[in-house]
């Protein structure tokens, strides 16, 4: 029965570019689930989270970890402070600030970032913190959306996410976001670029190993926006995705695109339980 399961599943797995190792992990239970969903496009075998879950900071040098832990020395805090100022400033036609609706972010935004990305009921689409800020600007402030990766948007998202620091990432898959989860997962396991590598090749199979001078992390998004020394500035998770896409010589998808949003959602599920670290400091 187990053998049949492998046979039945193999074409799908191959189409995703998964490794043979994942085949072996298919249990009898997942085979039964597979039968239940037979005919549907989605596979029953859910991918695994890395064990044990390790935040990207654990692969950094001790100096870098100390820099992140120092609330003054952490250069990412400059963006948090920037966001704090913007939070209280009125914007747009309606002359409202974030604080006009949300009050003190230290209370109202506590734990909010742990549930993102989430589906906005009005817009009926998946939004991350960046998308949420821009929806608020559009709906309540009557302001132009902020450009992805702009200093203002980095500041506001860093400030909001910072309010959840230390709280575990916690997104749950439901009917609204299941499609995003599946697309994100498929993106994660699909080979791409001239290097013909998937995210999984590095971040599931080889975390802890070396890639030139770097230690490969598990690829979690729990510390974003981060201050990255290579960038000499703060950057969003989507900018980091683009760095990875560049590394495997794949098409550079724009920040905020649906593909990257879905991937962000999948990674949030995959990082479930890791504490938010915003603003993280990475090499």
């Amino acid at each position: 029965m187990r053998g049949e399961g492998l046979t039945a599943d193999s074409s799908y797995v191959r189409s995703l570019g998964l490794f043979i190792g994942v085949h072996r992990r298919l249990s009898a239970v997942s085979f039964l689930l597979l039968l239940m969903f037979a005919g549907g496009p989605a596979p029953a075998a859910e991918p695994q989270r890395p064990q044990p879950l390790k935040s990207g900071g654990e692969f950094s040098s001790s100096e870098l970890r100390a820099l992140q832990a120092d609330d003054f020395g952490n250069p990412g805090m400059l963006w948090v402070v920037r966001g704090e100022k913007l939070w209280g400033e009125a914007a747009g036609r309606n002359g409202k600030s974030c604080a006009a609706c949300h009050g003190d972010a230290r209370q109202s935004m506590k734990g909010v970032a742990t549930h993102y990305p989430k589906v906005d009921p009005g817009a009926a689409r998946l939004v991350n913190l960046e998308g949420r800020v821009n929806l608020c600007r559009e709906r309540h402030q009557g302001a132009e959306p902020l450009q992805y990766e702009s200093e203002e948007l980095l500041g506001l998202t860093a400030y909001v996410a910072h309010q959840s620091r230390g709280m575990p990432v916690n997104v749950t898959i439901d009917l609204q976001n299941r499609k995003s989860y599946e697309r994100g997962r498929d993106f994660y396991y699909a080979r791409r670029g001239q290097m013909n590598l998937s995210c999984s090749h590095c971040h599931d199979r080889n975390w802890g190993g070396r890639l030139l001078g770097e230690t490969i992390s598990q690829g979690h998004g729990n510390a974003y926006p981060i201050y990255r020394l290579e960038w000499q500035t703060a950057g969003s998770l989507h900018r980091r995705f683009r760095s990875c896409l560049f590394g495997v010589r794949a098409e550079l998808l724009p920040g905020g695109s649906q593909e990257l949003l879905d991937l962000e959602f999948y990674l949030a599920w995959r990082a479930g339980g890791l504490p938010v670290e915003t603003p993280g400091v990475r090499r």
Binding site: F72, G73, P75, M77, L78, T233
Partner: protein, 106 residues
């Protein structure tokens, strides 16, 4: 331009205190080129001055070798309550200031 200054809030007279400042700045070296091959003009914070109750206690001249978002730290003796005020200027002529209050007891 965002900057943060950190001093101990309350100290004893004569105590050695640690003063720290972090400034958000690109510190463009002048050695880089953009996508079209044009040189990106040098723009660094060239001078930074700290005054403690209007007395200059620290001065730094920065150059291309300083990383973006410079972070400086020095020590001074707490003599009287008041303010430590930083001011700086970059090559583009943009000026910035930031200050922190200090309360000396004893």
């Amino acid at each position: 331009m965002v900057a943060r200054v950190q001093v101990p809030q309350q100290v004893k007279r004569g105590e050695l205190i640690e003063v720290r400042i972090a400034i958000q700045h690109v510190m463009e070296t002048g050695f880089r080129y953009d996508d079209r091959g044009r040189a990106i003009p040098k723009n660094v914070i060239n001078t930074l001055v700290a005054r403690y109750n209007d007395t200059e206690i620290f001065r730094a001249e920065l150059g291309s070798g300083i990383a973006a978002n410079p972070f400086l730290q020095f020590y001074t003796v707490a003599e009287a309550s008041g303010e430590i005020e930083f001011s700086w200027v970059d090559d583009a002529g943009e000026k910035g200031t930031e200050h922190a209050a200090i309360s000396v007891v004893g």
